[in-house]
């Protein structure tokens, strides 16, 4: 199977600081890939380049064989904070994803908005402003907006980092279900090993800056595609988590 997202000799420096070392990596379509690595290692930069928000210093990134040059709605970003616009209601935040689309009618837009409101359990909060809803709800809004935009690649930069443990767990389960149901390709940046193992089809482990791939772990082969919450208590999950932790200690010389 050929890769959907292809890093081809991609490298990035900010001035004299090398952030990403020449990387070659292919990511499959409809899979959830976690970029795991120490804070500030350059994994976010790598993901931002997929979004067209940063430009590689050398090499390129191909999406479905086409070179990425600028941001467009096929690749949506979800950030840790500032994810939903405070001046728009939940409903209009989601609809914002389609605001600049001319290929669908406004009736279709409302229908899609409705669909994602229901999918994320946000229907009761449709008319609320973001400051009236919880952090978990706000992140749901941000993900829904990206999906409504019609992105088939979701770029998620530690999206659950600021949430409490329980909400975080819930959103992880939801994200995985929706990723499978809606057939999305997700690049998920985190430094949380548990989160990485629970969510990922595949974990790409990065070194300290400048980022380079130190391990490529096929999680789906061990845990399968479905990730119910109970999987966290299985022997396989523990073994995998420990394996990743060891890799991190050995390869990067740091705790994440």
């Amino acid at each position: 199977m050929s890769a959907y997202v292809q890093f081809a000799d991609t490298a990035k420096s900010f001035g004299p600081v090398e952030v990403v070392r020449k990387t070659n990596l292919g990511l499959e379509r409809n899979s959830l890939v976690v970029f795991l690595g120490p804070s500030g290692c350059g994994k976010t930069t790598l993901m931002r380049m997929v979004g067209g928000l940063d430009e590689p210093t050398s090499g390129s990134i191909l999406l479905g064989g086409e070179k990425v040059v600028r941001p467009d709605r096929r690749r949506g970003m979800v950030f840790q904070s500032y994810s939903s616009f405070p001046w728009l209601t939940v409903e209009r935040n989601i609809a914002f994803g389609m605001r600049y689309r001319n290929d669908i009618t406004s009736a279709q837009k409302s229908e899609r908005t409705r669909h994602y409101l229901d999918l994320f359990g946000l229907a009761d909060f449709a008319a609320s402003y973001p400051n009236r809803i919880s952090g978990g709800m706000r992140q749901r809004v941000a993900i829904a907006r990206t999906l409504a935009a019609g992105s088939d690649v979701l770029l998620m930069d530690e999206p659950f980092g600021a949430l409490d443990a329980l909400t975080r767990e819930r959103l992880q389960v939801e994200l995985r279900l929706i990723q499978i149901r809606e057939e999305k390709t997700v690049i998920f940046v985190t430094h949380d090993v548990e989160e990485a193992v629970f969510l990922a089809d595949r974990i790409i482990l990065f070194s300290r800056r400048p980022a380079s791939v130190v391990a490529d772990i096929d999680v789906a082969a061990e845990l399968g595609p479905q990730r119910p919450l109970e999987i966290r208590e299985t022997q396989k999950f523990f073994e995998l988590r420990n394996k990743v932790l060891h890799l991190i200690r050995n390869e990067t010389g740091t705790a994440v």
């Binding site: 941001p71 950030f79 500032y82 616009f85 994803g97 605001r99 600049y100 689309r101 400051n131 990206t146």
Partner: protein, 260 residues
């Protein structure tokens, strides 16, 4: 029984806040009245509030105060709207395009620190003693402050918001109108409210130096004849206009930005 009113950073019921505000103002006025009546201070220095109110009434009914107030208000608003109409786009451009910011910021920073009164002689040489001088001075006092405040607000628009908009297909203009301006709205209105207040300060300077109308002129003329009640009445009127304008703008703020 009042201990619950003194909770550190605590809350007080709105009705209590309002009554306390009115009561405190009333107390100050009462103390002033008592001091004036006791005769400790000569009336030409501190006339009693009742005499100030009487003077205000005479000014309203016999000395065309309403017209003077209207003239002053018009001057303030013309200069203020002119300053805002220029400062908002220029401030936004300064933060949107580094090259524009780099070109303008040092100059604006320099002019911003020039005291407006120091430029009065120059503006009289340039514009004479007509309306242009007053509007120019007021504009001078607000434009250069406001432009930097606007530029600052624009700079603070979270990068994440801009990037979210770009990834759903917004072009630069759409990012500006649909995200940056929406985000800036509340602080922009606040900054306008504050600079409008400064406008009144400069107005008095402008009207004292060169005017035959306006509330500053009224105050200054009254001073020449040591009509202290009139002077105080004029000052009170400015305070009242400021209070009303400020409350109206706050109301507008609440109406426009219900989501806050």
């Amino acid at each position: 029984m009042f201990s619950n009113l003194f909770v550190f950073r605590g809350r007080v019921a709105p009705m209590v806040e309002l009554s306390v505000g009115i009561a405190a103002a009333f107390l100050v006025v009462a103390a002033w009245e008592a001091a004036a009546r006791s005769g400790i201070i000569a009336p030409q220095f501190l006339p009693s509030p009742t005499r100030v109110v009487a003077a205000l009434w005479t000014m309203l009914t016999e000395q065309n105060l309403v017209w003077h107030v209207a003239v002053s208000t018009a001057r303030v608003w013309i200069a203020f709207l002119l300053a805002a109409a220029m400062a908002i786009p220029i401030g936004i451009m300064m933060s949107s395009y580094r090259i524009i910011g780099a070109a303008l910021e040092p100059m604006i920073d320099f002019i911003r620190y020039l005291p407006v009164p120091a430029l009065v002689p120059l503006s009289i040489i340039w514009f004479g003693v007509g309306e242009e001088t007053k509007v120019f001075l007021l504009w001078l006092g607000t434009f250069f402050q406001l432009v930097l405040l606007v530029a600052d607000d624009m700079r603070r628009v979270p990068q994440e918001f801009v990037e979210v908009a770009r990834t759903v297909g917004a072009n630069s203009r759409q990012v500006m109108t649909d995200v940056a301006l929406r985000w800036m709205g509340p602080t922009l209105i606040d900054n306008l409210r504050i600079t409008l207040g400064w406008c009144w300060t400069y107005l008095i300077i402008a009207e004292i130096v060169a005017a035959d109308s306006g509330i500053g002129y009224v105050i200054w003329t009254a001073r020449r004849f040591v009509k202290t009640p009139e002077v105080m009445a004029g000052v009170v009127v400015i305070g009242l206009i400021g209070l009303v304008t400020d409350q109206l703008l706050r109301l507008l703020h609440r109406r426009l930005f219900r989501y806050l």
